[in-house]
Symmetry: C2
Subunit: 385 residues, 2 copies
């Protein structure tokens, strides 16, 4: 299952010894073809980890034979030696697969600013190649890329004509910004060229991972990679493929949201009545990043004033006295002032929906975030020590 649900893929997840915990920390996903078409989106952070700089180059060719992923170290801010480590990792995979390093993507996640223990990682590669399988490999790979994730995240769907899309992800964030590094590998046995995969992936991530904003922080390592084996020979219509891919990404997105570090609430922010989709996203992000509101949701306090305050910091089109806000369906703010009784809002469910109506047009967008908790503080104040 997971990335090995589609035909033409093998995967493995092994213990290379990168993590002190002694759990799986090295994953490998291999595309046995016949196609090797691939596309990817990367973090927009200008400080990019070595594996991102490497994989960006690989993806320029539109072909990927395999991807190596490690947890236990981000290999970010490690200078030229760190880039050499990524290069050596790709070379090792290429050697074992008797292929070209130029078609080996690399992803890393973990602490920034430390070299990877290559004396553990390279021998781990031998183990990973030996373990490659279609059966358990997909789940083992999904397990190996976890850092603070409490569960492995996988998804798969079948498309028209019998092709499959499979995927695994780790992290509790998004492409930009992100709570922690988000890595995602999506595979398919449909037969589509790299350009189509690229368009489909950008369309799917734009409305899913790109709108999951756990804590406003953007990782140096975020990567979403899509690989097509073409093993079924099915050539789906681009629209149909994009819709199915978006479904898979939305499924993983939900899993990331629910497992966000320290979160006790999954918050869905629907912005409606916007003059443009950009305005809706801008307002949604501003609400999602408001620490005071995130604390209020944690305390099960329907504090709509903090929603208005967050909207007010944006340059979106709206009039303050025409803003409406609903929390879990109760319109607690109408026309910029108090509306229905806030005591009617049931804040107890894990899922909290905030609807902000800008009364400025027909556009809308949804952004997801989680609450700000003492557990989040605890987890992130003790991470590297």
């Amino acid at each position: 299952m997971s990335v090995t649900a589609p035909r033409g893929f093998r995967a493995a997840g092994v213990v290379a010894g990168l993590k002190d915990s002694g759990t799986r920390d090295l994953a490998l996903v291999v595309n046995d073809g016949p196609s090797r078409a691939a596309a990817a989106v990367f973090t927009r952070n200008r400080v990019k980890a070595a594996p991102v700089l490497w994989s960006e180059q690989v993806l320029r060719g539109g072909r990927v034979r395999a991807v190596v992923l490690n947890s236990g170290g981000a290999n970010a801010c490690t200078g030229a030696p760190g880039f050499q480590d990524t290069h050596a990792t790709a070379e090792k995979a290429a050697e074992l697969l008797v292929d070209s390093a130029g078609e080996i993507a690399v992803c890393s996640t973990g602490l920034i600013g430390e070299r990877l223990p290559m004396d553990a990682l390279l021998p781990g590669m031998d183990k990973a190649v030996a373990d490659l399988s279609r059966g358990d490999g997909g789940l083992a790979a999904a397990d190996a890329i976890r850092t603070t994730d409490t569960v492995a995240k996988i998804s798969f769907r079948q498309g028209e004509g019998g092709y499959m899309i499979g995927a695994m992800a780790k992290g509790a964030g998004m492409l930009a910004p992100s709570l922690a590094t988000m890595l995602c590998v999506v595979t398919t046995d449909a037969d589509l060229p790299a350009e189509t995969l690229d368009r489909a992936l950008r369309a799917a991530t734009r409305v899913t991972f790109d709108r999951l904003d756990s804590d406003g922080c953007m990782s140096t390592n975020d990567t979403v990679l899509l690989m097509a084996s073409g093993a079924t020979g099915v050539v789906p219509a681009e629209d149909e493929f994009t819709a199915l891919l978006t479904e898979v990404c939305a499924d993983l997105n939900r899993q990331l949201l629910v497992d966000a570090e320290g979160a006790s609430k999954a918050i869905t922010i629907e912005v409606v009545g916007a003059a443009s989709e950009d305005d809706a996203v801008t307002v949604g992000r501003s609400i999602a990043r408001n620490n005071l509101l995130k604390c209020a949701v944690h305390g099960e306090d329907p504090n709509w004033g903090r929603v208005l305050s967050a909207i007010g910091t944006t340059d979106a089109v709206f009039e303050p006295d025409q803003l409406n806000v609903a929390i879990n369906g109760i319109w607690v703010c109408r026309n910029g002032s108090f509306g229905d009784d806030r005591d009617k809002v049931d804040m107890r469910p894990r899922d909290v929906t905030i609807t902000a109506d800008l009364s400025a047009g027909p556009h809308s967008a949804t952004v997801w975030t989680s609450d700000l908790t003492a557990d989040y503080v605890h987890e992130n104040s003790a991470y590297s020590t």
Copy 2:
């Protein structure tokens, strides 16, 4: 002392009954002249509280006879009725002082979205006017504007020729953005016209309150008001006055920083080597708003990778491999990679200084923030309930 340190001012702080705690919640500062020249800066949030909308109009005239300040309610997002409440407050003060409501400024702080209990506030005004004094009034007023502030914040300085600047402040934030509403009243017995006061105040707040970024949230109520009585007849040089005013604002800024909600660390972020001052401020704010970094500082973890990650999200001029970062004087990151041993960094003091060198030019700026703690979460998840 406080706002009554300069001649020509009386003040009071009384219990009007706006706060459940039964502590002081209504302050009044009166300028007895001979001058009434005044200037102010307000929140840049587009959702502005009624007292901000009112006071902006008052300040257009450049003259302020008195300012009424209340804690126990922000009077924000209260619609036309809320604006009427502010108007009635100014009218009541004008009536008691036998003056014009058009020269009465109003400031409010507390929960957003609820009407003020005017049946308590208006009788409180009688009490405040009866209590006006030069002696204890300044401290009582500073006490009355507190919300979550654990201590009253006051400052005063003497200028050349014997004039004074006095001030009081509340909040743990800044003009934009802000942890909670920041209110500040500054008084002087120097004789300067409104235009000069305006320039001086903008210059002073630009490098002090405007660069204190507790939690990235911008209040609907922030106000800094400067009133001149001219009672000494001293006309200071604009440069000298601006420098002294900046000193007073910096002193209060430091008090706000140290008393920020739930904070255990006071973080000074110095950005140097920037291509422009704007770049330096942009980078400083991005670092100051990074929740992951703020958690790391709380955990006394010199996690410089999170500093680089925050810098990377900006559009400032820099090359990733030329960034240097020092934490408490130890250059833990050189040329975008690890530098001196992070174990050398002593994170135990309450004050933590992060220096980010962009290696891109001669400009610099300082931004202040505090750490993110479980206490912050606790305080803000229980605020309105």
